[in-house]
C-alpha cells in the first residue's frame, strides 16, 4: 500500500519524503552505529586480546580467551548454574503464566480486580523485590513462618545454604515474571474465537480436553515468544544475585552474568576474558532461541 500511495505522488514529494525519512531515523542510526554495532565489534576486538582496563599494553591473544573457557573452573560452575536456573525458571514461569491467563480469561466476577493484583509483582523493581525476598527467606522470615504454620517448624537460612540458595532465587524470579507473561498470554487468548470452544463443547470436549486441544495449539506462537523471552532474560540474570547473594554461598549462585561483572569491575579487570564469556553467552542464547522456535513456532497442522 505504501508503494502505491507513494507512486501517485509527484517526484518532488518522494525525494523530500526520503530526505525526511533519513533525517528522522538519524537518532536511531547514531545509537545503532555507536551503542550496538560499534560496541559489538569493539567487544569482539577486546575478546581477542589480553585486555585490562588499567594496563598500558594489551597483547593480542587470538582466540585463546575463547578456547580457554572450557578450562575456566568459575565459568564452568557459572554456566551450569545459569543453565539450571534458566531451564527451571523458563518452564515454571511459562506454565504459571499460561494457567493464570486461562483463569483470568474466564468470565467471572471480579476479573479486573484479580488481574490488577496478580500483575503487581511485575511492576516492582528488582531491588525492592530482592529486599522483600531477603526478608521472606530470612531464618525467621515469612517462608519459615508459613512452614511452621503448616506443621514443619524450621529456621532454615534459605540463602546461606548451597542447596537452597539458587532454587530460592528461582522462586523469586518466577514470582515476578509469571505475571508479566500472563498479560502476554491473556492478549493471545482473547484472539482465539469463542466459537471454536463452543463447537468443541457441543462435541463433548471437557475443559481439560479443550485446554490441550484448542488453547495450547492455537497459542503456540505466543508460547514461543514467552519461552524465547524467558531464555533471553534468565540467561542474563544479574540483579538479584548482585543484591542478595553475590554469587555465594560457595559460588552456588554464581551466574555467567555475575562472573562477567566480577571480571570487569571487581578483582582482576580481565576484560578480554569477560568479553569472550559474553559472546559465548550470546551464542548460547541465540542457539536456544532458534531451537525453541523450531519446536514451538512450527506451522500448525489440523
Amino acid at each position: 500500500m505504501a508503494v502505491a500511495v507513494a507512486g501517485r505522488r509527484r517526484g518532488g514529494v518522494r525525494a523530500s519524503e526520503a530526505r525526511a525519512g533519513v533525517v528522522f531515523v538519524l537518532p536511531y542510526l547514531v545509537f545503532f552505529l555507536v551503542m550496538q554495532a560499534g560496541a559489538l565489534l569493539l567487544a569482539f576486538w577486546f575478546s581477542l586480546h589480553r585486555y585490562d582496563l588499567l594496563a598500558l599494553e594489551n597483547p593480542f591473544r587470538g582466540l585463546a580467551n575463547y578456547t580457554r573457557l572450557p578450562e575456566n573452573e568459575d565459568f564452568k560452575i557459572a554456566l551450569s548454574n545459569t543453565a539450571y536456573y534458566a531451564v527451571v525458571v523458563t518452564i515454571l514461569q511459562t506454565a504459571f503464566a499460561l494457567v493464570m491467563a486461562v483463569l483470568l480469561d474466564a468470565r467471572i466476577r471480579g476479573r479486573g480486580f484479580f488481574r490488577s493484583t496478580w500483575y503487581t509483582p511485575s511492576i516492582a523493581s528488582t531491588v525492592v523485590i530482592s529486599m522483600i525476598f531477603l526478608w521472606i527467606y530470612h531464618p525467621t522470615g515469612l517462608l519459615n513462618s508459613v512452614l511452621s504454620l503448616l506443621g514443619t517448624p524450621v529456621q532454615h537460612n534459605w540463602l546461606q545454604d548451597t542447596r537452597t540458595a539458587l532454587p530460592a532465587l528461582m522462586g523469586l524470579n518466577v514470582w515476578t515474571t509469571a505475571p508479566t507473561f500472563m498479560i502476554v498470554f491473556l492478549a493471545g487468548l482473547q484472539d482465539i474465537p469463542r466459537s471454536i470452544y463452543e463447537a468443541a463443547e457441543v462435541d463433548g470436549a471437557g475443559p481439560m480436553r479443550r485446554f490441550f486441544s484448542i488453547t495450547i495449539p492455537l497459542l503456540r506462537p505466543i508460547i514461543f515468544l514467552v519461552v524465547a523471552l524467558g531464555i533471553i532474560g534468565t540467561f542474563q540474570v544479574f540483579d538479584q544475585i548482585s543484591i542478595m547473594t553475590q554469587g555465594g554461598p560457595l559460588k552456588s549462585t554464581l551466574t555467567v552474568a555475575y562472573l562477567i561483572y566480577q571480571n570487569v569491575f571487581r578483582d582482576e579487570g580481565q576484560v578480554g576474558v569477560a568479553c569472550a564469556m559474553a559472546f559465548a553467552l550470546g551464542v548460547i542464547i541465540y542457539i536456544l532461541t532458534m531451537l525453541s522456535r523450531r519446536y514451538l513456532d512450527a506451522k500448525i497442522d489440523y
Binding site: V5, S16, V22, V25, S125, W135, T140, F279
Partner: protein, 289 residues
C-alpha cells in the same frame, strides 16, 4: 475455558449443586493465587511500621503491635543521601521518558510511514538487536562513556538510553494502524514532514505515547544495573541503588529497609493505579516488559 460451564442453564438440581461446588472451588483457587502474589507487598507495607525486631519476630505478627510511622523519617536520617537519591531517580527518569517519547516516535514515524532507502533492512536489524545480550556491549559502552568523561554523571545514563528499540517498535506498531488520509491532507497543505509528524500524527498517537511513557517511567525508575555500573558516589545514586547500598551496610535495619522499599515502589504503584490499562496495552501489544 470454564466460562461456558457457568453460562449453561442448570438441567437439574444435581448439576446445579455440582456447578455451585465448581464455582466455589474456582473462587478458592483465585483467592489462593491472589494471596500468594499479593501478601509479600501487604506484609512489606505492614512491616514498614514495625520495629526492626518485630519484622523478623518468631512467631511473626501480622499487624504491628505498635505503629511506628517515624520509620519513614528515620530512613532519611539513617541514609543522609536518601532524599537526594529519590530526587536523582526522578530527574533522570523524567528526562529519559521525555527523550524516549520524542526520539522513539520520530524514528518510528519514519519507519512506519516514510519511504527512504534502507528502511526495511534497518528495521529488521533493529528487531534483531533486541536479542543481543546487554552483557556483550557492556565493556565497549563503559570505555566510551569513560572516554567522554561521563562516569558518575547523569550523562552516562542519557547517552545510552535516550532511545530504545523497544519504544521504536511499540510506536511503529501504532503508526501503522493510523489512517493515511490525515497526513495526505496536511502534506497538500504544505505543512512539511516534521510539521505533519508534530502537529498531525503525534496528537493522534496519545494512547500509544501514554503506554510508552508509563512503561518507560517504570523501567527508568526501577533501573538498578546502569546506575550500579556508572555511578560511583552515593550522592549520585538513584533510590534503587541507594536502597541496595543501604541494605549492604545496615543488614539488620529491617524497619528502614521496608520503609525504603515502600518509598521506592510508591511512584510506580500510583502510576499503575492511574494508568493500568496503558501498562497492560504496552505489554500485551509487544510481548516485552
Amino acid at each position: 475455558m470454564a466460562q461456558a460451564t457457568l453460562a449453561r442453564p442448570a438441567a437439574s438440581d444435581t448439576t446445579e449443586r455440582v456447578e455451585r461446588l465448581q464455582t466455589t472451588f474456582r473462587y478458592i483457587l483465585y483467592v489462593v493465587v491472589t494471596v500468594f502474589l499479593f501478601t509479600p507487598f501487604l506484609m512489606t507495607v505492614l512491616s514498614s511500621f514495625k520495629t526492626s525486631a518485630e519484622v523478623i519476630a518468631y512467631p511473626p505478627t501480622i499487624l504491628p503491635s505498635e505503629w511506628h510511622p517515624e520509620n519513614y523519617v528515620q530512613v532519611f536520617i539513617a541514609n543522609p543521601n536518601f532524599f537526594r537519591q529519590v530526587f536523582n531517580g526522578l530527574v533522570v527518569t523524567l528526562l529519559l521518558v521525555g527523550l524516549n517519547l520524542f526520539f522513539c516516535s520520530l524514528v518510528a514515524y519514519a519507519f512506519a510511514r516514510l519511504e527512504f532507502p534502507g528502511r526495511n533492512v534497518l528495521f529488521a536489524i533493529m528487531l534483531g538487536t533486541m536479542v543481543i545480550p546487554s552483557w556483550v556491549t557492556l565493556v565497549p559502552k563503559y570505555v566510551l562513556i569513560q572516554n567522554l568523561g561521563l562516569i558518575n554523571t547523569f550523562g552516562a545514563l542519557l547517552v545510552q538510553s535516550y532511545i530504545t528499540p523497544f519504544g521504536i517498535f511499540l510506536m511503529a506498531q501504532f503508526f501503522r494502524s493510523v489512517p493515511r488520509e490525515l497526513e495526505e491532507a496536511a502534506i497538500v497543505d504544505g505543512l512539511g514532514w516534521f510539521g505533519v509528524f508534530w502537529k498531525i500524527v503525534l496528537p493522534v498517537a496519545r494512547p500509544a505515547l501514554l503506554a510508552l511513557g508509563i512503561l518507560a517511567f517504570k523501567d527508568h525508575w526501577n533501573s538498578y544495573f546502569d546506575w550500579l555500573i556508572y555511578m560511583q558516589t552515593p550522592e549520585m545514586f538513584n533510590i534503587q541503588l541507594g536502597l541496595a547500598a543501604f541494605r549492604g551496610v545496615y543488614q539488620n535495619q529491617w524497619d528502614l529497609i521496608m520503609a525504603g522499599s515502600v518509598i521506592a515502589i510508591l511512584p510506580i504503584l500510583i502510576l499503575y493505579v492511574l494508568g493500568q490499562r496503558y501498562f497492560v496495552r504496552g505489554v500485551a501489544t509487544t510481548g516485552l516488559k
